[in-house]
């Protein structure tokens, strides 16, 4: 979450474009990378329907990274909640470069049936998976 006076929230729902790639940092932290596609449709000036696919590179750290690499694959339908972060790094010629990344903090699988059954015995994917039944109670 954001610091004082800040909000930094990203919500994406889309399909994975590739299998998650899991790596470990020298200090042993797991990091997973994958891409998610979202489609945007709009009408242009002439009233024609237009569509564009946006690809989002997602970075996931630690426990959630391992869960993603274990359960997600190309084509998986997912909900991602996270934040944007800029990172500075140096390229080969020593120039400072800025990269803005999407860091996933929560992930929910949206594919129904099979995958849901597969997951029945696995630990919860997020710390605050909503309990649907609670929504039914008015107060």
């Amino acid at each position: 979450m954001g610091g004082r006076g800040s909000v930094n929230k990203v919500i994406l729902i889309g399909h994975l474009g590739d299998n998650p790639e899991l790596r470990y940092t020298p200090s042993g932290d797991p990091v997973a990378n994958f891409r998610i596609a979202t489609n945007r449709t709009w009408k242009d000036r002439d009233g024609n329907q237009q569509e564009k696919t946006e690809w989002h590179r997602i970075v996931v750290w630690r426990k959630l990274a391992e869960i993603c690499s274990q359960y997600l694959k190309k084509g998986s339908h997912v909900y991602i909640e996270g934040r944007l972060e800029t990172r500075t790094w140096e390229d080969q010629t020593g120039n400072k470069r800025y990269t803005t990344e999407i860091l996933a903090e929560q992930m929910k699988m949206l594919d129904s049936r099979e995958s849901a059954e597969q997951l029945a015995d696995s630990p919860p994917l997020t710390q605050d998976t909503p309990d649907m039944s609670e929504d039914d109670v008015p107060f």
Binding site: G5, I13, G14
Partner: protein
Amino acid sequence: MADLRMPEQNKVFLAGRLTRDPDLRYTRGGQAVANFSLAINSRYRDSSGKRVERASFIPIVTWGKIAERCNSQLKKGSPVSVEGRIQSRTWETRDGEKRNTLEIVAQRVQFLGRVSPDTSQESEEEGGTQREESTGSEKK
């Protein structure tokens, strides 16, 4: 769980301060485009559980009337909240190297602070009333 068909979503909510004055330009077709960048502080715990605070600088692009209003009412340091979508753009450097840039296309911008002492009353409200495209007539 019920078999809900989830729509695709691409949503971003940000609140922070402008790192520079908005840069307003017009496309050849006469569309206004304003670019600015937001500084956003994040707090989180690192792998060792230590509390870390860091700033991110997120590029924002706005179009049309919102762009013009941002340009006339915001400046470096102004606090705003932005709602929009993520867009990535590929471009080529002079050396022909391909680079990918992520930016937020703002669909809604709320001005959170007072811009200058003589602005209208509405802009003095903390938390900001919604002052995007629908409010174009309140300013002369």
